[in-house]
Symmetry: C2
Subunit: 112 residues, 2 copies
DNA sequence: ACAACATATCAACACCTATTCATATATTAG
DNA sequence: CTAATATATGAATAGGTGTTGATATGTTGT
């Protein structure tokens, strides 16, 4: 058994909803979302993330800690630097779906 | 001219990222996420949402305003009541993907 | 017109959180 | 060992935000 796909999961549990919301909230900050997107491409060090996004290494590290704790990203040490990358491919799917949603915001508009 | 799944690379603009983060942030609140999930099933009135989730109509209305403004939900008036439902199916995909992510929190992956 | 109901809006408060700065820890080179 | 680099952590603060209660708006009946 490798992976089991669950279609539309009935999330009635409070814990599950809170856990879901927690992940969405993490992606709900522009800075953090930028960091996620930067790590989605290829493993990248903290300093390089900070340099590319023009952020302080401290701030990047703070966000990385949250993202790592939430199992969104993972860090792998290579010498002095630590390279961060996406833990799995689901986050990319989530973002792609949301991009699709943003791409076609307007469909029907009767009452406004 | 038809939109398909576009890769995550296409969102480099600051506005797009902020817009994306805005949507994720909206889904990042447990109460709001519950409201979204309730509306995903079938169009439901404000009062029924409040009753089912045990929330004040005022709070539900407040959240609905944000969700409607963000084009996540849409409201349709029927007499005194206003029924809310998902604007499109993308949100459901986003949630499903995130549920899949939560479903497999730990999975060692070296090769993909 | 009025009353009753459904939803929306306003103001205020309490809580949370993103950011900054200083400091600490970890790794490598000499 | 020390020095230099890379990352992490701690505290403090400013701005954001969810929630509540009162009030307003809108709709349907009598």
């Amino acid at each position: 058994m490798k992976k089991k796909r669950q279609p539309t999961v009935s999330i009635g549990s409070e814990d599950a909803i809170v856990q879901l919301a927690d992940l969405f909230r993490l992606m709900g900050d522009p800075t953090r979302l930028r960091i996620i997107l930067t790590c989605l491409d290829v493993p990248i060090s903290v300093g390089d993330i900070a340099a590319r996004l023009d952020l302080s290494p401290s701030l990047v590290s703070h966000h990385l800690r949250l993202l790592k704790a939430a199992r969104v990203l993972r860090g792998e040490r290579r010498g002095k630097q630590i390279f961060y990358s996406a833990l799995d491919a689901h986050i990319r799917c989530v973002i792609d779906d949301m991009v699709a949603h943003v791409g076609e915001p307007l469909d029907i508009e009767e009452a406004e």
